[in-house]
């Protein structure tokens, strides 16, 4: 079973919860799909056993063969190629390219456009006390983490449960990280920002028809902002983690919430059980 952890809003505790869920449940694999800002390794502190580069194909236009007909530039919907016919020049904007391969397909001259690999980021695999770990690290300056997330999902072994830590927000990289997962755990906090972004995230997972539940972080007694919303929308709250300076201080040192919360392990094992039951009943 693949469980993705998402949040809409950043800083709600997604990573520390995802790490805690993985550490408390044996034989899971923790996957850091927040490739723009991967932080899971700070908490798991894995020994990296394997590291490789993730590449996508981009066009290399050979101007000595190019006839500057402009077919590639016309076909590219991302406007990643400009052909300056009068001065016989081809310009390629790598940050706009989606690596679809259409330009080389429409090029009428043999070998005028060659597809060459370009590194988008790196994938690292590691382990700590039997806890498996995979992360993707997007290269600085790369516009989209989506291909890297798509690529790293291929390396998740299917013989055990995976906890996939996604990036904040609700756009393309998040859709790619939660897509194909069996359950989405939405982490939120009881502030108006938290509630607003939770609503957006709920809209996204409903649209994608994925089973999901909520975990409230930084909960304060008497604040029922999230509870009221969940009750109205009939969404299950799987657990609550209190707002505490102690947890925040531990987090700052790279200690996940499971190690600070009284009965932390039991709390996260329990959440996993609820998820398993939920998935079984809805599927």
């Amino acid at each position: 079973m693949w469980i993705s952890v998402a949040s809409g809003k950043g800083g709600t505790g997604k990573t520390t919860v995802a790490v805690s869920l993985a550490l408390s449940n044996k034989n899971t694999i923790y996957v850091d799909a927040d490739v723009e800002e991967p932080n899971g390794f700070l908490f798991i502190k894995p020994v990296i056993k394997e590291e490789f580069s993730y590449t996508e194909l981009i066009p290399l236009i050979h101007e000595d063969k190019c006839t500057f007909c402009g077919k590639c530039a016309d076909a590219c919907v991302y406007k990643a190629i400009a052909i300056l016919k009068p001065v016989k020049k081809a310009i390629f904007f790598p940050e706009l390219c989606h690596s679809c391969g259409l330009c080389s397909f429409v090029c009428p001259v043999e070998n005028a456009i060659e597809e060459v690999p370009k590194e988008k980021g790196r994938i690292r695999k590691g382990e700590k006390n039997g806890q498996l770990f995979i992360e993707g690290i997007l290269n600085v300056g790369e516009a989209s983490g989506t291909p890297l997330i798509r690529g790293m999902k291929k390396y998740i072994p299917h013989d055990r449960d995976a906890i996939i830590d996604s990036s904040p927000g609700t756009s393309c990289p998040v859709v790619e990280s939660v897509g194909d997962t069996d359950f989405v755990l939405l982490i939120t906090e009881p502030t108006p920002f938290g509630l607003n972004d939770l609503k957006l995230a709920v809209e996204m997972v409903k649209e994608m028809k994925l089973p999901f539940g909520i975990l409230v972080n930084k909960h304060e007694e008497g604040n029922s902002l999230i509870k009221d919303y969940a009750r109205e929308e009939k969404i299950t709250i799987l657990g609550e983690i209190p707002f505490s300076r102690e947890i925040a201080e531990a987090y700052s040192k790279g200690i996940p919430v499971v190690d600070v919360l009284p009965d932390g392990e039991k709390f996260f094992v329990n959440i996993m059980e609820k998820i398993r039951k939920g998935v079984n009943t809805s599927g």
């Binding site: 950043g10 756009s171 809209e203």
Partner: protein, 295 residues
């Protein structure tokens, strides 16, 4: 007149207090246009309560759809699609997964019977609104939609037009988290990036990556440490890192429960008297920003 100076507030890591600071600065700095560029989790409106003057649709790229009546099931489209967006459904028909389709149109080129067409998508709305603190340009992307970088570029362009029309010299931009396309789009043409970080291991890690991004796009960056007293030794590490790299730390905001308490009542730390130390530091930051704007 020159372009208005864009001050963009970024963080790399989410949840460091970017929007709280952006709202506070929007209240303290006069004569500006306000932009919420965190288009997939825009929260600035919650505290600034904008009154929409204008609303427009935002069109993203097109996505493919296959006419199963025309389709001869040759499978060429599935073979060529690099995004794995085309597959057979239970009935054996080829279908497009709209979440995976990136709109490249390759499939339409290889289909021998013209069974595939591209459909333009409305992916969100954008607004020009009035607030008690100035005009605000913001947007709402449909959750799960793509193209947020283009939407960020659009709201910033509109803000420049408004600034020009009204003779305003500055634009305050609340940016998105991360370092990807919406962030790059927020950074393009910015005069100054205020990077809000926190003294946590993840905060430091992400600070490093967002500063590298600013450097790559040639944007001057200054650092603000939020919750600075939560881990003194990490705060010192950030200070040393800044000193070594010639970066200015514009402020150190203390950790205080009052911030969350105020937020849950839709107030910023500067709106009440229960948040003394936080309020004082934010005012100091805003004075520094004002000085920068008048240079």
């Amino acid at each position: 007149m020159d372009r208005a100076k864009e001050i963009v507030i970024l963080s790399g890591k989410g949840g460091t207090g970017k929007t709280t600071l952006a709202t506070s600065l929007s209240k303290l700095i006069p004569n500006k246009v306000i932009v919420d560029a965190d288009v997939d989790a825009s929260d600035l409106f919650i505290l600034l309560k904008p009154d929409p003057l204008r609303q427009d649709e935002f069109k993203g790229g097109s996505i493919a759809s296959i006419d199963t009546k025309k389709c001869i099931q040759c499978g060429e489209c599935e073979k060529k699609c690099r995004f794995n967006a085309i597959s057979r459904n239970k009935e054996g028909n080829f279908i497009v997964d709209s979440y995976k389709c990136e709109g490249c149109e390759f499939c339409t080129y290889v289909c021998p019977v013209n069974a595939i067409k591209m459909n333009p998508q409305i992916v969100g709305n954008w607004y020009v609104s009035e607030t008690s603190f100035g005009t605000m340009v913001h947007a709402r992307l449909i959750p799960g939609a793509e193209n947020s970088g283009n939407l960020v570029a659009l709201v910033k362009r509109e803000a420049q037009l408004i600034a020009k029309k009204k003779g305003l010299r500055s634009i305050i931009v609340d940016g998105p988290p991360g370092i990807g396309c919406p962030v790059i789009s927020s950074l393009s043409s910015a005069a100054l990036a205020l990077i809000v970080t926190e003294p946590t291991l993840s905060g430091i890690h992400d600070l490093d990556r967002i500063l590298a991004t600013c450097k790559q796009f040639n944007v001057n960056a200054k650092i603000i440490i939020n919750k600075a007293d939560i881990n003194q030794s990490n705060t010192e590490k950030i200070q040393q890192f800044a000193d070594k790299n010639g970066l200015e730390i514009m402020g150190k905001i203390p950790f205080d429960r009052c911030v969350v308490k105020n937020l849950s009542k839709n107030l910023t730390p500067i709106d009440s008297d229960n948040c003394g130390a936080v309020k004082k530091e934010i005012k100091k930051i805003s004075n520094d920003v004002l000085r920068y704007l008048s240079e």
